[in-house]
């Protein structure tokens, strides 16, 4: 049985190679990684809005108003509000913003910078230094600076550069899900050749026949993952978890492709379903960029948890729970979908 499975896998690998599957996968991985590295900018964020309010009426008030007024003249995104509470309210509505509240300190004014929580230390310090520079020469002594962070726990996730943040998306859409499309084309090629009829009159079994194809798809997924990840993040990823995630998702999506292909005779009959299912499975990408948008119909899609689990494996934050739970979920899904594929092929492929 094992020997037969290995020969089947060899045959499928040769067929996939001669159909340029390996070349396509490597070329796509290189194309995506080159785009990530050299085309997509590291930071695409628009200039943050500043909400400010003053509760200071001391001797430096004029100089402070003058400095802020100059900033207001050159930047459209400096907005005056009535109170500290309103600053926080506005910041919650607009997450690409920070706040500035000027109040009376013990002997000098205090400028309280209010941050969302995802800004890194470098950008916070840059902002504070810029404010100090603007005031220098205008006041005898610098105001006291305080910083307040609204959500401390979101800081680390958002430190990932924009271009590298695309990598987990690529890993889900390409290595993890490629089996879904490629295995369908492999099956239809064999249906057109009629070779499965010749196979089923040998002692070979359907589970071996399907497993060999899934194995080739998983190998293609691993190659794509390694090319993509090594070029973009080098060795700075949890490769053990990443490969485990790509393997289980590769098995699941390939088995899903096998089930889909069992219902149709050729690729043109199945193309609409192939596109519709691919689009549905891609919906969680919206939640990836806008985490607050995660309705239940997106959360239940397997690609949703896979996307965040792969991000955790690539940009580790110590949240291993999401990797473990996704691995368990996909292992169960893979087993179920593989068994369903065997059932579907025993029923459909032997029909004339």
């Amino acid at each position: 049985m094992i020997k037969r499975f290995l020969w089947l896998t060899k045959k499928d690998a040769v067929t996939a190679y001669r159909n340029y599957y390996f070349l396509i996968v490597v070329a796509l991985a290189l194309l995506f990684t080159l785009l990530i590295r050299f085309v997509v900018p590291e930071d695409t964020s628009v200039k943050a809005t500043v909400f400010y309010s003053t509760n200071y009426s001391g001797e430096l008030r004029t100089q402070l108003d003058e400095t802020i007024g100059q900033s207001k003249d050159t930047n459209q995104n400096v907005v005056s509000v009535d109170s500290r509470e309103e600053i926080i309210e506005k910041m919650k509505e607009n997450t690409n913003s920070f706040g500035m509240f000027i109040k009376q300190g013990d002997s000098r004014p205090t400028i309280e910078f209010i941050f969302q929580g995802y800004e890194n230390d470098q950008s916070r310090n840059t902002l504070i230094i810029a404010m100090k520079d603007s005031l220098s020469g205008k006041t005898a002594e610098n105001p006291k600076i305080d910083t307040i962070v609204l959500k401390e726990n979101i800081s680390r996730d958002m430190n990932i550069p924009m271009n590298k943040n695309i990598l987990p998306l690529f890993l889900v859409m390409e290595p993890a899900m490629l089996g879904f499309v490629l295995i369908v084309s492999l099956i239809f090629m064999e249906k057109e050749e009629g070779t499965i009829r010749a196979y089923v009159i040998t002692p070979g079994k359907i589970p071996e026949y399907l497993a060999s194809k899934i194995t080739v798809m998983v190998v293609l997924g691993i190659i794509s993952t390694l090319i993509g990840s090594l070029i973009v993040v080098g060795f700075n990823a949890d490769y053990l978890s990443l490969l485990a995630l790509v393997i289980v998702s590769g098995i699941f999506f390939s088995a899903l492709g096998l089930i889909l292909a069992s219902f149709f005779e050729n690729i043109s009959q199945s193309i609409i379903w192939l596109i519709v299912i691919s689009i549905i499975l891609s919906l969680p990408t919206v939640s990836y960029f806008f985490p607050s948008f995660a309705p239940i119909y997106i959360k239940i899609l397997p690609t949703y948890s896979m996307m965040f689990a792969i991000r955790e494996a690539v940009f580790s934050t110590g949240n291993t729970g999401i990797i473990t739970s996704t691995l368990i979920t996909f292992t169960v899904l893979s087993i179920i979908s593989y068994l369903l594929a065997i059932f579907a092929y025993n029923r459909s492929l032997l029909r004339d």
């Binding site: 045959k11 067929t15 010749a198 009159i201 002692p203 070979g204 032997l350």
Partner: protein, 284 residues
């Protein structure tokens, strides 16, 4: 080797049967022909016997294995030469045979030996997708011998082949018969059935109309007449002589002894004519 009793098969799983109560036996080393027009039920019967279609009703034993529960022993014992070439187009002829060889758990033939047998040795390393239709068919024919089958299912084995290749394939079939291989040959070609088969079954609309040897059928359904062309007074004359009437027999003997006969043909029936007599329809 083959024991079939009351075999029924319906594609729609209702009372609309493609095969209706077919029964026959094939002994070891025999070539059994299944003769019938397209849609008669030949291929359906063969598919059930080879495990390509599930058994629904009746009993069928192939190489001692109940076809209702096909197992490794069954698949190791049979070889199937499909009518339509079903080969891996991206693999070479050699790779196709080598791959199938690995699927069996019994001693197998050397792929090159089989490729030589069907005249494909020079195209052994060429991708099978680039083969002509005849070459593909020969490859399928060769593949069906890879596991040294005890029972060989042949579906229209010379259909679409040129006369030279067809003769070569027929020689291979005859040689395998001498080696004791049992064969189940489905065809609508009466000539190959006549030439190769020990017995033939006529199948029409899912039912077997009759089973016998081609010789017996021809004797049974042919006319006992000899058609003769002879010369008399410098002219060619044609006449039919009965093999039963004494008067005709004496006249024919006289023509033979005088050496006047130009051509002489017995008027035996062809299998197609017999098929038409029995079923009321032709084989095409």
């Amino acid at each position: 080797m083959l024991n079939i009793k009351d075999l029924y098969y319906s594609y729609t799983k209702d009372e609309s049967y493609a095969v209706k109560g077919v029964s026959f036996e094939v002994t070891e080393g025999e070539i059994f022909g299944f003769l019938g027009p397209n849609g008669a039920g030949k291929s359906t019967t063969q598919k059930v016997l080879t495990g390509l279609l599930p058994m629904q009703k009746g009993k069928a034993f192939v190489a001692g294995v109940d076809v209702r529960k096909p197992n490794e022993k069954l698949f190791n014992s049979i070889g199937v030469s499909f009518e339509h070439p079903n080969i891996y187009k991206k693999l070479s002829g050699y790779e196709n045979l080598d791959f199938y060889r690995k699927m069996f758990s019994v001693p197998t033939e050397d792929p090159m030996k089989l490729l030589r047998l069907v005249g494909l040795e020079e195209a052994a390393n060429k991708k099978a997708g680039g083969y002509s239709k005849g070459m593909k068919q020969r490859l399928v024919f060769a593949r069906s011998l890879i596991n040294k089958p005890k029972i060989w299912f042949l579906d229209e084995p010379i259909s679409g082949l040129d006369p030279t290749t067809a003769n070569h394939i027929k020689d291979v079939i005859k040689r395998k018969k001498e080696e004791g291989v049992t064969m189940f040959l489905t065809t609508h070609n009466m000539y190959i059935a006549d030439e190769l088969c020990d017995r033939v079954a006529f199948i029409n609309e899912g039912k077997i109309a009759l089973v016998d040897s081609p010789r017996n059928l021809k004797l049974m359904y042919g006319e006992k007449i000899i058609k003769v062309e002879y010369t008399e007074n410098g002219q060619i004359k044609k006449e039919n002589f009965s093999m039963i009437k004494d008067e005709d027999k004496q006249k024919l003997n006289k023509l033979i002894s005088e050496g006047k006969i130009e051509t002489l043909h017995s008027q035996e029936a062809t299998l197609e004519e017999i098929f038409m007599k029995v079923t009321g329809r032709g084989l095409k």
